[in-house]
Symmetry: C2
Subunit: 473 residues, 2 copies
């Protein structure tokens, strides 16, 4: 059992640390971003280096006090907000914001865990490189949290998930030992890949303090188009057409539904939409090409091939960078329109690509049987990653349907699991999905995870309650 | 301590298995590919499915008998050949050769662990896709071993290491539990990434029985050129030129030294070489481009830009697929010329890209101080991965210098480590480099590895002596 971080412990810890590291907890650290609950923490520790992180973890392990690592606070599954259990210490990486080094010729950048994603993107751009990780919260999400959760986003199709953009880590284990592994190597087969074990472990195995990140050349020419398709199946067929046309030049392939466009029109009427009548489905096709290729021509070729195959019925190709930005803004404002509309429940699921159309048919039918709910399905179709979100009937409040949340989510997750999918594509398990992990997880995998957790964190201080639930430790 | 696989154990195990699974050991299983030593094993088990693998592992764990997993037998660090310790059982995946399914529209293929790499490549080609993993032993190396060792090869620059080409695994843990994780998902954040933990663990944590593999569209048009450069630094500058020109279209960037070309001329005089006088350094530049781009024009542009910048002095662009194959054949025959010449010691190292030139200067000087040795340095320059191999003076036998091997290797590895490099880039640790792992490994990482090993394989049956040496178990 863990002990609460009581006054005596905080006094002891303060004595081990420089002034200003241990701070009173501020309310913002305890907010769950979707407002589902309030968290608790005795204080927040804000170390400025890995050595101090080590001191803190060692003290917590000695005293059996839980530690909740905190990045930008943007996680959507409650991983950074502990609602109950013995009072923990919050450990915020907000002061570790150094860009330690940039190696443009190697396409490598070394960032501390507290650097905000947008700052990494800007630093890369400053040396004419691209750090491709891109998602709605990039203005506040921090590198440590993004890696801890293995964030996804809109560029995974081309560049992979957060884990694929990391060459090495510096991290502190629960015993206070520091792993100096932020190397700049493309190949390194010296033992078990702890990097990938820590990435996606959501702060339950240690604290990431710095990362060696992969940069890419910036595509010389970018382009984007919105194309109207009849069905998700046609959208997938168009994906294959686009890949055949430009291969890795396809940077993004996002699905947008008519429901999402209607929400936007209703809640954000000033946002210009390209089609006067919202189509049932459309895709945002984004290209990044070398100098010798013209994005507009490539998009026209994709559109023409889609027309010939009966896949697309209408479309608009961005005529400028600013119009391309407008298309992306439309896509990225959908979550805000969702928020203003008020979802009963959101789902972050992944499916084998070819299964997506059948999933949508079955899921829509299953939801319809539960009541006259509205579904806004959008997401990263190129990755098989859907945000399948359920809203109350028009004119009704979400609060009316809170009691239905578990039932609706159960139907969607059961179906996802039955069709070979994942109930957490890019958001992680956190605390919201710890029960799902037990319900849908492979028993051999779960047993191995528990063994690893017990081996690396025998007292169970790291992010107690997250991922593996309350059993560990 | 482990027990030997004695007659009583083999009788007991045979009783648990179908006829034909347990077989007498054949000499070929005990050969270390470079002839460094002979292995030992009491028998070889050849299961045809994961359930049988589970029965075998459970029996071995109960009896405390070691298990050496065996794929194609091509590993170069002794991981598949146990020379000493209590007599183990060999577990060969050679009967698990099913291609369970191919999903061309998803760019996914599911292969059992015993499928030979060339057969996966061919299956992908059969559906107009590419499985990019490519290396000299592709005609005999098997998928399970390639993933167990996280193989590299010539396409890493564009497509990543073996681990980057794997979406999911089916594997058997040492307790006989089966993890059914060969999923077809691009995003799956449900718990710790056991896939990446098993990949590269060289059979010390469990047995991979099947894998879900990533396919890619085949580049529509390929091209290759050999370009003469003055120095490795110029080669690196040319790499940047090529990436600026074609971005991800650059599929390979291989460094070849004049020493390698002279070895080829001496040992394999029938092999045609493109330059009458072997240049000190040249690079093989390989492109795979979409339909709209012409490889020959792109290679000319790279060559012209290289000329203008004073980086290249001569070059030849392949005029046909067959000439491109000749260029690759030249590159891929270097290891055979090395074998015929007889290396005192080979190194498989990786360095931060920008450090490569300084490393070569310092390493060459350090070797020269040890004696009039010949160095053939070649490899995957785009990945910072060098095969830095040391040969006796002309006219001398390698055997004369066997006693110098440890000293030479120590100099090269010390320097590699001091410059932030890895002493195993793509071959793994196996048994040859277990001492190097302790010598150069990060202590916190090593402790975490030992903890994970003890958690997943408490008896220490899996590939005893490999990676972590004899201490585990």
């Amino acid at each position: 059992m863990l002990n609460p971080a009581d006054g005596a412990f905080l006094d002891h810890l303060a004595g081990l640390l420089q002034d200003g590291v241990l701070r009173p907890i501020a309310p913002r650290y305890l907010e769950e971003p979707r407002g589902r609950y309030r968290g608790q923490a005795a204080a927040v520790a804000c170390p400025a280096d890995a050595d101090t992180v080590a001191v803190i973890l060692r003290a917590c392990a000695d005293a059996r006090v839980g530690v909740v690592p905190y990045g930008g606070g943007t996680g959507l599954v409650g991983g950074q907000v502990a609602p109950d259990g013995p009072m923990p210490l919050l450990l915020s990486l907000e002061r570790m914001t150094a860009l330690r080094a940039v190696y443009p010729s190697e396409n490598v950048l070394i960032a501390e865990a507290g650097v905000v994603l947008a700052d990494v993107q800007a630093a890369a751009e400053g040396v004419e490189r691209l750090f491709p990780l891109s998602l709605a919260s990039e203005g506040s999400a921090r590198i440590g949290g993004l890696l801890g959760a293995n964030a996804g986003g809109t560029a995974v199709l081309r560049y992979g998930n957060a884990r694929d953009l990391c060459l090495g880590l510096e991290a502190v284990f629960p015993d206070g030992s520091i792993w100096h592994g932020a190397k700049r190597l493309r190949k390194d087969n010296t033992g078990y890949d702890l990097r990938h074990l820590l990435i996606g472990s959501e702060g339950t195995l240690g604290v990431i303090t710095a990362a060696s990140l992969r940069l890419y050349p910036r595509p010389a020419r970018n382009g984007a188009a919105l194309m109207v398709v009849n069905t998700p199946a046609d959208a997938l067929a168009l994906l294959a057409v686009a890949q055949a046309q430009v291969a890795e030049g396809l940077s993004g392939f996002e699905l947008i539904s008519g429901m999402g466009l209607r929400f936007l029109r209703e809640k954000l009427p000033d946002l210009r939409q390209p089609f006067s009548t919202p189509p049932d489905w459309m895709v945002l096709v984004d290209l990044g090409l070398p100098t010798a290729l013209d994005p507009a021509s490539a998009l026209e070729a994709i559109f023409e091939a889609g027309l010939d195959a009966g896949l697309v019925s209408d479309g608009v190709i961005a005529q400028s960078d600013s119009q391309r930005a407008d298309f992306w803004n439309l896509r990225e404002t959908i979550p805000e329109a969702n928020r203003l509309t008020g979802a009963i429940v959101s789902h972050d699921i992944a499916l084998p690509l070819s299964v997506v159309p059948e999933f949508l048919e079955q899921a829509d039918a299953a939801i319809a049987r539960l009541g006259p709910f509205r579904v806004n399905c959008f997401g990263h179709l190129g990755d098989g990653n859907l945000h399948y979100n359920i809203f109350p009937p028009a004119g009704h409040e979400r609060a009316t349907y809170d009691s239905r949340r578990a039932e609706i989510q159960g139907r969607v997750h059961d179906l996802t699991h039955a069709m070979g999918g994942s109930v957490s594509a890019e958001h992680g398990i956190g605390r919201f999905k710890a029960a799902d992990l037990v319900r849908y997880g492979d028993p051999a995998k779960l047993a191995a995870m528990r063994g690893i957790k017990a081996a690396l964190d025998p007292v169970g201080i790291m992010n107690p309650g997250a991922v593996l639930g309350q059993s560990a430790g």
